[in-house]
């Protein structure tokens, strides 16, 4: 209270209000994960090209053949090298992020909970149907929470199903849990689709919110944060 009074009385100096939005661990995890995800998706599509089906080998019914232009690695072995190298970075950054969220308690800000459900539609209406902006009541709005929580879900599914495809015998119990080797490929592919659905929405939002918001994911500090005024 006393400080408020002081601020009121002091002559306004040439200052910029900054707020620490993204801690170091979150930014490190974010950028490592962004790069790893790009490599995992493109090399994964190259791997999928080798057998673009979810059924038996005989008779083979192709589901979708990814065009080479969106793939990485050049051929199956090359793509596997990328996939098996960046899987460490992908999982490592994911675990780093989760551990940080749990230890810091910040998971409460981003974890999508049932009480967030009613708030999703107004946000969708605001973003996509030019509806009125719902009042900002928390660090992340319900739609953001849904999007960020879903990426953790996609990451977890892709990790577990990837583990089953990588070592179906060593993790035979997980293979059983996910419904077998073939279904694990389906879950892996669907998790990838989830990420592919998330990325454009995420990038559009970043573009709409401008440089200042984007910059805060690089340095952590946001200038004149919207919750100050």
């Amino acid at each position: 209270m006393a400080t408020t009074a002081n601020v009121l009385e002091a002559p306004k100096p040439q200052t910029i209000t900054v707020s620490y939005e993204h801690p170091f661990v979150v930014r490190l995890a974010h950028w490592l994960n962004a790069i790893a995800l790009l490599v995992m998706i493109t090399s994964g599509l190259r791997i999928f090209r080798a057998f673009p089906s979810f059924g038996p080998k005989i008779p083979q019914q192709n589901f979708w053949i990814p065009p080479p232009g969106i793939t990485l690695g050049g051929w199956l072995a090359g793509a596997i090298q990328w996939h098996f190298t960046f899987m460490w970075i992908f999982v490592g950054s994911g675990v780093m992020y989760l551990v940080y969220q749990i230890v810091s308690g910040h998971w409460r800000q981003v974890l999508f909970m049932p009480c967030d459900i009613p708030g999703v539609w107004p946000m969708v209406r605001h973003y996509f149907l030019f509806g009125k902006k719902p009042p900002v009541v928390a660090a992340y709005n319900p739609l953001q929470k849904l999007a960020y929580t879903s990426t953790v879900f996609f990451g977890t599914v892709s990790f577990l199903s990837g583990l089953v495809m990588y070592k179906p015998v060593q993790f035979w119990w997980l293979t059983l849990l996910l419904g077998g080797f073939r279904l694990a490929r389906v879950w892996h592919f669907m998790a990838m689709c989830g990420f592919v659905a998330f990325i454009p929405g995420h990038l559009i939002m970043v573009a709409l919110h401008g440089w200042n918001n984007f910059y805060s994911m690089i340095t952590g500090w946001k200038r004149d944060p919207e919750y100050i005024e």
Partner: protein
């Protein structure tokens, strides 16, 4: 105990604030009203009064940002310094750019592959079995693909065929199929997984790798088994996998002698390995501690991972 001084502090702060507040008629009242709104629900907020500019300023702005750090007012110079420091902390990410440099790319990817292979070998449970399948789950014989890199039938003379056993073994030499078939036979329904992503369950019969290696007096502490094939294919397997209870030298499929397309007369069948490790048309097996560089395996030498474990 800790509650009391705190509440006393709050009270004193409040009274202090009321004392130090400007002697305007309305300000203190509005202040109290807004305070009460937070603490005592039910007190009527005074909506009839238009808020003054001072009142607007007194609404406390959040002190902390979403990351729990205090919101600060900094000079432009300080802001530049903060941003530069935070940016430098993220600099290690730029090291990933090495993957884009042609000179470093392949060595880095090879390292990644080796780390994965090393981990795979650590994960391997020598006694952990692949679940076997009931006969109804076995794909019919015509649905079990012929996999070959060159020719489906390298034209092995089955009548004069022998398996050459060399290296760290007590009884090296050439063994006939009859001799191998005289050893205890196992039959199992196991899954064949191709690195391409497809899989098929088949029925396989043969002699356990461990039984065969003991029979020829192999040094079971050696690290590898190298195999050569009639179609110039070659492979190398870690000894742990060779001694796995489900690893067999396979001479039967679906209760019939192995046909030429599936590797007659003898092939490797390891349910804990990918398809490209399952060498067919075997001619030579060699127990060794050292793999010849560039001779680790036909596909491995072109970039596939050596361990290929499942």
């Amino acid at each position: 105990m800790p509650d009391e001084p705190q509440s006393r502090n709050e009270r004193s702060e409040e009274s202090e604030l009321q004392e130090s507040a400007p002697p305007s008629e309305k300000s203190p009242e509005t202040q109290c009203a807004s305070d009460n709104q937070g603490t005592k629900a039910g007190t009527e907020p005074r909506t009839d009064e238009k808020p003054h500019i001072e009142v607007r300023d007194e609404i406390p702005r959040p002190r902390f940002g979403p990351a729990g750090e205090e919101i600060r007012d900094v000079t432009p110079g300080d802001r530049r310094r903060i941003n530069r420091r935070e940016l430098l902390e993220l600099a290690p990410i730029a090291l990933l750019g090495a993957f884009a440099i042609p000179k470093f790319q392949q060595p880095l990817l090879n390292t990644g592959l080796h780390v994965s292979d090393w981990t795979a070998a650590k994960l391997f449970g020598p006694r952990r079995l692949e679940p076997t399948y009931s006969n109804s789950e076995v794909a019919s014989f015509d649905k079990f693909p012929y996999n070959f890199y060159d020719v489906v039938d390298p034209g092995v003379d089955l009548a004069s065929w022998t398996l050459t056993v060399e290296g760290l073994v007590k009884r090296p030499g050439n063994y006939t199929l009859q001799q191998i078939q005289a050893l205890p036979k196992v039959t199992q329904n196991t899954r064949h997984v191709c690195v391409e992503g497809w899989d098929v369950v088949g029925n396989f019969g043969g002699v356990r790798g461990s039984d065969f290696l003991r029979w020829v007096g192999a040094d079971l502490t050696a690290r590898f088994l190298e195999v050569e094939c009639a179609d110039e294919y070659y492979e190398s397997i870690d000894m742990e996998t060779m001694l796995h209870p489900q690893t067999i030298f396979c001479y039967e499929m679906y209760g019939r002698p192995l046909d030429r397309g599936h590797g007659a007369p003898l092939g490797l069948r390891m349910p804990t390995k990918l398809g490209y490790k399952q060498a067919k048309y075997l001619t030579t097996v060699r127990v060794t501690n050292v793999l010849k560089p560039g001779m680790k395996g036909y596909w491995e030498d072109q970039g596939y991972d050596w361990y290929g474990g499942l």
